[in-house]
């Protein structure tokens, strides 16, 4: 909680620029039902202070520490496959067993790796990211209600 104390004063000065939603003067929740947040709850958050806070920094760093290497790796892995398929078709034709060749196995491995990354990202995010972001969100939304 105390992390955001310094931001309060800051927030009031930046309120004006945040008050109008990006699509114009009509508030974003005008078309939605009662469950939508009240203007005062979201418009007064000092986003820059939040971004500079330690909690947010942890979330950001954690997110980056998974997503950055995994995205880099799967893109390299995919283009390795493409380059080999285009420039070394002979290698892809080497038999593994019978008519099942390297190319087919390489291709199926692309599927396997995609499934594996998707499942592990989901699991990782649920356990390592969601609790942190939930806590911060509750605090930010709750903190504005007073």
């Amino acid at each position: 909680m105390s992390l955001f104390q310094p931001s309060r004063g800051n927030a009031s000065s930046t309120t004006a620029s945040y008050q109008s939603p990006p699509w114009g003067e009509s508030p974003p929740w005008s078309a939605s039902t009662a469950a939508a947040p009240q203007p005062s709850r979201t418009s007064a958050i000092g986003y820059e202070a939040v971004r500079a806070s330690r909690d947010f920094w942890t979330i950001q760093r954690r997110y980056g520490s998974f997503v950055r290497p995994v995205c880099t790796l799967f893109i390299i892995w995919y283009f390795l496959f493409v380059i080999v398929a285009v420039f070394a078709p002979g290698f892809m034709r080497i038999s593994v067993f019978g008519d099942v060749n390297v190319g087919l196995c390489f291709g199926v491995l692309q599927f396997v790796s995609t499934f594996a990354i998707a499942v592990s990202y989901r699991r990782w995010a649920r356990h390592r990211l969601d609790p942190l972001s939930d806590r911060l969100r509750h605090r930010l939304e709750g903190g504005q209600r007073q």
């Binding site: 820059e48 950001q60 997503v67 995205c71 995919y78 599927f111 990202y121």
Partner: protein, 537 residues
Amino acid sequence: MTGLAATGAPFTVGTPALNFGIFAFFVVVTLVIAVSAAGRNRSTTDYYAGGRAFTGWQNGIAIGGDYLSAASFLGIAGIIAIYGYDGFLYSIGFLVGWLLVLMLISEPFRNTGRYTMADVLDLRLKAPRVRAAAAASTLTVSLFYLLAQMAGAGALVSLLLGVRGSVGQDLVVAVVGILMIFYVLVGGMKGTTWVQIVKATILAAGAAVTTVWVLSRAGFSLPALLQHAAASSPAGNRVLGPGLEYGVNTTTKLDFISLALALVLGTAGLPHVLMRLYTVPNAREARRSVVWTIWLVGLFYLCTLLLGFGAMWLVGGKRILAAPGGGDSAVPLLADKLGGTLLFGIVAAVAFATILAVVAGLTITASASFAHDVYAGLARHGEAEPADEIRVARITAVVIGIVAVIGGIYAKGIDVAFLVGLAFAIAASANLPSILYSLFWPRFNERGALWSIYGGLITAVGLIIFSPVISGASSSLITDRHIDFAFFPLNNPGIVAIPVAFFLGWLGTVTDRRPADSARFARMQVRALTGVGAERR
């Protein structure tokens, strides 16, 4: 299905009448679903985002339904049936791109946007000109993709209903257009989503059954299936490795790399996929939906691999190429070989339902972008009444339907998977750079966004116009060989247009002297990663 068989039986087996009956059955079922699921569609959130009431798995399957177009089902299997392994390369690109959507796009998008892609850019940059640019590229990509689907519809139906003349085909394209307008007008996003869910389920089940059937013919042995397939192809064992279609010379190789780039980066820029992320209540469900989509799409593409080789073996490339619709007819012909005319009719009707559902999804995306971004956001400065906005969206849907019908009539005969590859290239160059920059680059600004969107769009479309797609080759749109302005040698512009768009986004940003708006970036990041202030139901 047994009831269907009973009603279908009195017809002479193998006549277009049976196929027509099955078609009509599917159309009626999907129409009933669209109408009954539609609800009232009173607010814009209902009409554009299905009330944000879908669960992760429902939306995941619906995204799969939007994504698995006729190009996937018929096109990829057809390429595999004719060129073997090279078709497999397509499906891998189509699948792997989803990881970008999952990890970089889905949650931030759901957290920071409302209905369209332009919402996200506008939250970050607050610039009407950027919203206009994003709307322009959304409309272009949707129309291109629509064109591909409509072209496929004409070819498919000519095969199924025995419609040979071009007037008959044009009529079919027109009927598809009318049906799709109806789905969108009546169903809104909610009805369209349920049509996608039903369609994706039938499509996956149909593909799975046919695949198991093919495998059983080969004694459930993959090596045996491959061996039979290779033995029945004139190219022999070469079909089991890459290079038959793309390995001809350096140009075709580069063309393939260009396509691979477009496929893997294009998925994350497809407006009708991005818009689906808003139909769930929160970012977590958006993430869950994409994981569902990855499973559905991946398993489906594994099936198409076997279906393609199965068609190569049981139907044969020569017969497939001779059939109306060419490679796109491989799977229906395979179904005919396996299960007779009834299975043929069912598979064909599934493919038809696929085209209908995908065009409906594209139409609602394009009409939402026009009504929400251009009409409400720009013309009315965000002060449009929801009822007016929905009315504009509906009128737009009708206009888009007409444009797509006219375009589809001109584009028929072009390979569907190939046209979709072009749509992916445009999406990857016009949309993806500005999306990624606004989510993750603090300095990104208005000029960078405008340069990358318009630059990517113009480069991609321009290179297509000056490519062999339009003129100068035997497969060109302009059949007169004397007209040749194809100075760009590749069919797919991705390898040039995508880097150009990323570069222009960077260049535009760094040449703009105004200081970066760190407050807006802070808001973007905090909202994207925590979900503060995200749109609720």
